[in-house]
Symmetry: C3
Subunit: 337 residues, 3 copies
C-alpha cells in the first residue's frame, strides 16, 4: 500500500516527501524503507535521526526538520498504530465448523458461524454465541455461557456456571471459575468450604495466558466491561473488578477485593483481601496493597502508600549513611565540650 493511501485509511494528513510502498509496521530502530513506524511518546523522537523507516506517523507538534522519511500526522499515533496493524496484517479468517474430534454434549446450544476446534469438550447445557471460536483442547464443563464473538484460545478450562459476555478474548491455558481458597478450621482439622458461586466476565474483557480467575464462594466474582488482564494473573473468589481496568502480568488479588473503574495495575502487584481500590487509581509494579486506596491515587511499596511519600522515604534511606556520620560528628562535638 502506498504511504499516502495508508495515511488516507488512517484518516491522517500525508506530508511526504515522496510516496513509498509500505508493507509492514516496525519499531523506529528496526524499520526498513518499506515499514511504517510510530512515535506516540516524545521520548522516542531522538531515535528518528537514525531511523530507516519509509513512513513515520507522529503528532503535529513533533514533525522533525530535514528528514529521510515521509511523514503522516495523527492526533493519536497509538490508535493509528492499532489501525495500521489491522490494515497491513489482515487477520486470517477461521472457517466456522465443528471438528469431528470435538466432544459436544447434545444439550449444548451453538450459535451461527461458530468454530469448535479439535479435541475441544463442551459439556451439558452450555451456550456458545454466534461467531465464537472455541480453540483446540478447550474444556467447558457445563452450564457455561459464552457470549457472541468470543475467542477462547486452546487448552483453556472453564468450570461450571461461568458466564462470558460478548467479544471476550481468553488466552491459552487460562482457568476460569476454579474454586476459591476457602477452608474452615475445625477441631478435627480443616473443612473445605465448597465453592458454589459464579464467575461473570462482562463484554470485551481480555484475559492473558495461564491466568486464573476463581468463582465466587457463594456470591459472585465479576470482571467489568472492557477490562484487560495480562498473563499469569490470579483473581480470587468474590473479587469485583470494574470497567476498563488494566492489570499487568503476575498480579494477584486475594479474596473479596473490589477494584473500581479505569484502575491501572502494574506487574506483580499483590492485593490483600477485602480491600477497596478507588476509580482511576494507579498501582505501581510490585506493590503490596494492604489498605483501601482512595480514587485517583498513585500507590507504591510494600505495604503500599502514596507513591510520592514512598519515593521521598527512599531518598532519605539512600542518605542514611551520611546521617549516621552527621550524628556521630555531633556526638563528638558535644563530648569534646
Amino acid at each position: 500500500m502506498l504511504a499516502s493511501e495508508l495515511a488516507k485509511e488512517l484518516g491522517c494528513d500525508y506530508l511526504g516527501p515522496g510516496d513509498p510502498e509500505i508493507i509492514g509496521v516496525a519499531p523506529i530502530d528496526e524499520a526498513t524503507s518499506s515499514d511504517v513506524a510510530f512515535v506516540h511518546n516524545p521520548v522516542y523522537l531522538k531515535r528518528l535521526s537514525s531511523t530507516s523507516a519509509g513512513l513515520v506517523v507522529l503528532m503535529d507538534k513533533n514533525i522533525p526538520e530535514g528528514r529521510n522519511f515521509a511523514v503522516t500526522i495523527s492526533d493519536n499515533p497509538h490508535r493509528s498504530m492499532a489501525q495500521a496493524v489491522d490494515l497491513l496484517y489482515p487477520e486470517k479468517m477461521i472457517e466456522p465448523g465443528i471438528h469431528p474430534s470435538a466432544v459436544v454434549d447434545p444439550t449444548v446450544k451453538i450459535g451461527k458461524n461458530v468454530f469448535i476446534g479439535a479435541r475441544a469438550y463442551i459439556g451439558a447445557e452450555c451456550v456458545v454465541g454466534d461467531g465464537s471460536i472455541i480453540g483446540e483442547g478447550v474444556v467447558l464443563s457445563d452450564n457455561i455461557h459464552i457470549g457472541p464473538g468470543c475467542r477462547l484460545y486452546p487448552n483453556i478450562t472453564v468450570y461450571s456456571g461461568t458466564w462470558l459476555g460478548e467479544g471476550c478474548i481468553i488466552h491459552a491455558g487460562a482457568v476460569l471459575g476454579s474454586d476459591g481458597f476457602g477452608f474452615a478450621a475445625t477441631e478435627d482439622g480443616v473443612l473445605k468450604i465448597r465453592q458454589v458461586g459464579k464467575l461473570v466476565i462482562e463484554q470485551d474483557v481480555e484475559i492473558g495466558a495461564n491466568s486464573t480467575v476463581d468463582r465466587g464462594s457463594f456470591s459472585e466474582t465479576r470482571i467489568g466491561k472492557g477490562t484487560k488482564i495480562d498473563n499469569l494473573v490470579q483473581v480470587a473468589h468474590n473479587c469485583k473488578i470494574g470497567e476498563f481496568c488494566f492489570i499487568a502480568s503476575q498480579t494477584g488479588l486475594a479474596g473479596s477485593t473490589v477494584i473500581g473503574d479505569r484502575v491501572m495495575v502494574g506487574g506483580q502487584v499483590g492485593f490483600a483481601g477485602h480491600q477497596k481500590i478507588g476509580d482511576g487509581s494507579l498501582i505501581f509494579a510490585k506493590s503490596g496493597i494492604a489498605s483501601d486506596v482512595p480514587p485517583g491515587s498513585k500507590y507504591f511499596g510494600i505495604p503500599a502508600k502514596e507513591s510520592n511519600i514512598v519515593h521521598r522515604e527512599h531518598a532519605y534511606i539512600s542518605r542514611l549513611q551520611k546521617l549516621f556520620r552527621r550524628v556521630r560528628t555531633l556526638e563528638k562535638l558535644l563530648e569534646d565540650k
Copy 2:
C-alpha cells in the same frame, strides 16, 4: 429448608424470631430474606444493622439487640458455613464411566466407580483408585499412582512417577512432577541434570489451578497430609512441605526448602532454597524468606525478619524526614555556638 431445620442440621441452637424459608448462603451485605449469612469475625458485626438476611449464624457472645433477622448460635460459624453450603447446594453427582474418547493404556489399573473424562490420557502402569475423577484432557504420563477419592480437574499434566494419596483435589491446568531447575555449569556451557526423583502428595491435599510442583532431582518432593495450596504456586525440586499448611496464591519455594506443619504462608511469598521453616509459623504476604524461620514465628519483609521488628522499622522510616530536620537543627545550634 426452614431456618429452624437448617439450624438443627448444623447442630446449632435456633433463636428466631420467626422461621423463614432459607434457600441460599450469601455475604452479610448481599443476603436476601431467603439467605443465611455468617459472622465468624466480630469485625463484620457492624454490618448486621443493615443486612436483609433471613437468618444469621453467629457466636453466642455476638447476638445483637433488636434485629430484623432470625439468629442461630454456633460455636464455630465458619464450620457451620461450610456445612450449610453442603446442605443448600447439594453436589452434582458424576456418573462413573470412561468416556470413549479417553485413551487408557491396557496396563492401567482402574478402581471401582472411577470417572475418566473425554480426551483424558492415562499412560502405562498407572493406578487410579476407587471413586476418583479424572477430568477432561488430563494427561497422566506413566507409573503414576492416584489414590482413591481423588478429583483431578481438566487439563492437568502429571509427570511419570508421581504418587497421590487419598482424597486429593487438583485444580485445572496444574502440573505435577515436572523437572526441577537443575543444571551444572561446565567448560563447554551448561549440562542438564536429568531430574529422576519422585513427587509424593499425601492424602487430603488440595492444589490450585495452574500451580506447578516439581519432582525431586533424585531425592523426592513431598507435600504433607491436609496441606492446601492455592493457584499459581511454584514448589521446586526436593522441597518438603509438612501437614495442614496453607500456602496462598503465587507463592514460590526454591529447591530443597523444608516447611514444617501448620505453617501459614500469604500470597506472593518467595522462599530461597535450602531454608527450614518451623512448625506453626506465619509468613506474611510478599515476604522474601532468606533464612531459617524458628517455629511459631511471624515473619515479614524482604529479606524477612520477625514482623514486629519490620513494622517498627517501617514506623521509623516514615519519621525519617523529621529526623533529618532534627539533626539539621542540632547542627545549626552547634554552629551558632
Copy 3:
C-alpha cells in the same frame, strides 16, 4: 555398577577404600551405602561426618581424613553428578510414532523418528524436526517450526508463527507466542493492538511448566541459545533474552526489555519495560528492576540498585531505633545547656 567403574565412566580418579556396588544418586544426608553423593559446595563438607553414602564425589582439596565411604576426585562434582544421573538412571526410550488420536494437518512436515502423542493437534504448515517428541494434548496452531531433537511435554499451546531451534525442552502447560498486552487508548475506550510479531526460541533453550512467552507485537520476541527458564515465568512482547541465561521461577519481564548473555535472575524478579540488562549481571530474587543494569552488576531491591548499597541501607535501617535515641539524647543535652 561398582564404585570404581562409575568413577572411570565419570573420568575421575578412584581412591576407595573398598569398591561398593552403587545403584543410585542421593543427597549427602539421605544416601545409603549403595548411593553416590556429591559435594560441589564446601558448605556441605561438614555433613560428610554423618553420611551413610557408599561413595562420595568431591574435589581434590576437600578429601576428608578418616572416613566410612569411598571417595572419587572430580574437578567439577556438579558436572559429575549430571553424568552419574545419566549413567545410573538410563532414560526411557520413547518409541517414535503418531498416536491415532492425534490430529495432524496434511500440510505438516514431519521429520524422521518423531513421536506425536495422543490427542496432540498440529495445524497447517507446521514443521516438526527429526527425533522431536510432541506430548499428549499439545496444540501447535499453524506455521510453527519445531527444530530437531525438541521435547514438548503435554498440554502446551504454541501460537501461530513461533520458531523453535534444535534441542529445546518445553515443559507442560507452557504457552508460547501468546498475544502481548498491547492496547491503544482512544476517545471511545480501548483498541486492541493486534499482535502479529514472531517468537523465536534458539537452540537448547529450556522453558518451565506453565510459563508464558508472548510473541512480538510486530517485531519479534527472542530467547537466546542455551538459556534456561524456570516455571511460571512471564516474558512479554518484544523482549530479547541473550544466550546462556538462567531465569528462576515466577520472574516477569515487561515489554521490550533486553537481557544480555549469561545473566542470572533469581525468583520472583520483575523487570519494567524497555530496560537493558548487561552481560553477566546477577539479579537477586524478588528485585524490581526499574533502570538499566550495567554489565557484571549485582542488583537487589525494589527498585533495584547495586546489592552492596542495598545491603548497607538495610543495615542502617536496622539501626534506626538506636539512631532516633541518639538524636534524642543530643537534643536533651543541648536543651540542658
